[in-house]
């Protein structure tokens, strides 16, 4: 545990020095400030933010995580020559990447909210947005670690990461629609639920919108989800699935890391 902490601290100081993280924070600062300042209705601003969060966070987390792990190869090699176990090293690097990414998202949203938002009424909603964003950050960092440990070639790994993001954020919805269209004569609701559990981006959206209770924005999967589980159970199921999405890729990435030759 002590070792993980130490490695986490080195990583944190290293990542926080990176230009990308600063851009990332600035991006959220500017976007959320303008949304909170120029939209009279705060819940609308949070909804718009949600739509941005659901696209941007997976993209940035997966690309940053992939590149970062490739660039840390020297660091990993150097560390492994020291009395360190691979477990502490892996989880130290993982948390050292996911935590600063989350911090920069959270601070980029919460500062404008405290300045211009409706703190009294919308605080709970904002918290939900922050939780969704942080979960997505951890999930896509996990996935990015798995990708970059599985591929020794940097270009291939990066390509894979972008493909995964495209698939989950953009193509997946069309696939679901296609499935529903093709099988419209059959009861497909249950299969659609399974399909939405497979995609963390969808899950994040459902998780957030179930609380919001705007079924028009939930899309087909969200609506089916609500019908099937109801609001509270739906939130619990989607939350657990999101956590599983953090743990599973991380588990496979770690298994790979343990056996890897450096």
């Amino acid at each position: 545990m002590k070792l993980i902490n130490k490695i986490f601290r080195y990583e944190l100081s290293n990542v926080l020095r990176s230009k990308w993280i600063i851009f990332y924070t600035l991006f959220f600062l500017v976007v959320s400030y303008s949304l909170f300042a120029f939209t009279g209705n705060n819940s609308k601003a949070i909804l718009s933010l949600m739509n941005i969060v659901i696209i941007i966070i997976p993209l940035v987390s997966i690309i940053f995580g992939t590149m970062y792990l490739y660039n840390s190869r020297e660091f990993v090699e150097m560390m492994l020559c020291q009395p360190i176990d691979r477990k502490s090293l892996f989880f130290g690097i993982y948390s050292g990447t996911a935590v600063p990414l989350s911090l920069s998202f959270v601070s980029g949203v919460i500062i404008p909210f405290l300045l211009r938002g409706n703190v009294q009424n919308q605080f709970g909603l904002l918290m939900l947005l922050l939780i969704t964003g942080v979960l997505l950050t951890f999930i896509f960092t996990s996935v990015s670690f798995l990708v970059s440990l599985k591929n020794n070639d940097k270009v291939k790994g990066l390509g894979f990461s972008i493909l995964i993001w495209l698939l989950m954020s953009i193509i997946y919805d069309s696939i679901i629609l296609l499935v529903i269209y093709i099988f419209q004569d059959y009861p497909v609701e249950n299969s659609v639920i399974v399909l939405s559990l497979i995609n963390p981006v969808d899950l994040g959206r459902i998780f957030f919108l179930l609380k919001f209770d705007i079924s028009a924005l939930m899309g087909y999967t969200g609506a089916v989800f609500q019908k099937f589980f109801g609001n509270t159970a739906g939130i619990i199921v989607s939350f657990i699935s999101l956590i599983l999405w953090i743990i599973l890729p991380q588990f496979f990435a770690f298994r790979n890391f343990k056996r890897k030759d450096f």
């Binding site: 070792l3 020297e74 150097m78 176990d85």
Partner: protein
């Protein structure tokens, strides 16, 4: 003492080590020689746990390598290609390693002086030349006064002054009774420093013994010729 039992390692289709058994004794300098790609670095990295062998066991001072990692505390390693986080300064990396090891060992100022590294300590690694990186590696390898020292082609990037200083250091450490492993392509260096020699080819040990034995066996008086002769002999055998 390092004991290697039946180590085997494949990288895809390439077999890097084939059923290697080896015992490296303390208080001696053991040189591992062999052509490029013969498995020297893989063998060293297996001892350090950087490479995971497919089968076989390694014991360092009686401790099984694949379980406990604390044995690395007693190893100083200088890699063939010194790779460090490019954005960090030399000082930062050194204090990081010190912190990890919970040690308050200081860098030997004599070493800093001899390698002329004072100016370089505050520079990030990306600005350092290959030779300077190697010197930093020497610094780190010796810093914690480890019982086992492993050098992978240590003098390949060093200038003559630093290189001869390095050799003196190795001799001193040997007199202190440390286990030293060394790989090199410079035979004069090996003849000068080492007590016993391990000849590796295609992942197999073809000779392990003292230099004198090797010279007598091959009826040569220069190590370079003896090794070259052994190499051609072995490859002739495999082609037959």
């Amino acid at each position: 003492m390092i004991r290697i039992e039946n180590i085997e390692k494949k990288f895809g289709n390439v077999t890097a080590l084939r059923k290697i058994d080896l015992e490296i004794r303390s208080g001696k300098v053991t040189a591992i020689v062999g052509p490029n790609g013969s498995g020297k670095t893989t063998l060293i990295k297996s001892i350090l746990g950087l490479v995971k062998p497919d089968s076989g066991k390694i014991f360092v001072d009686g401790k099984f390598v694949n379980g406990d990692y604390s044995y690395k505390r007693h190893i100083g390693y200088m890699p063939q290609i010194a790779r460090y986080p490019e954005n960090l300064k030399v000082n930062e990396v050194i204090s990081m390693i010190k912190d990890l090891r919970n040690s308050d060992s200081e860098i030997n100022p004599e070493l800093l002086e001899a390698f002329n590294l004072y100016k370089e300590m505050n520079k990030p690694f990306r600005t350092l030349s290959g030779g300077t990186r190697q010197k930093v590696s020497v610094l780190i390898a010796f810093m914690f006064d480890p019982q086992i020292l492993i050098f992978d082609e240590p003098t390949s990037g060093l200038d003559p002054v630093s290189s001869s200083y390095f050799k003196d250091l190795v001799r001193k450490e040997k007199q202190k009774g440390k286990t030293i492993i060394l790989t090199s392509h410079i035979m004069s260096e090996i003849q000068e420093l080492s007590d016993s020699i391990v000849f590796l080819l295609d992942g197999k040990i073809h000779f392990h013994g003292s230099i004198d034995n090797l010279l007598a066996e091959q009826e040569e008086d220069k190590l370079e010729r003896a090794i070259a002769r052994m190499m051609t002999e072995v490859s002739n055998e495999t082609y037959k």
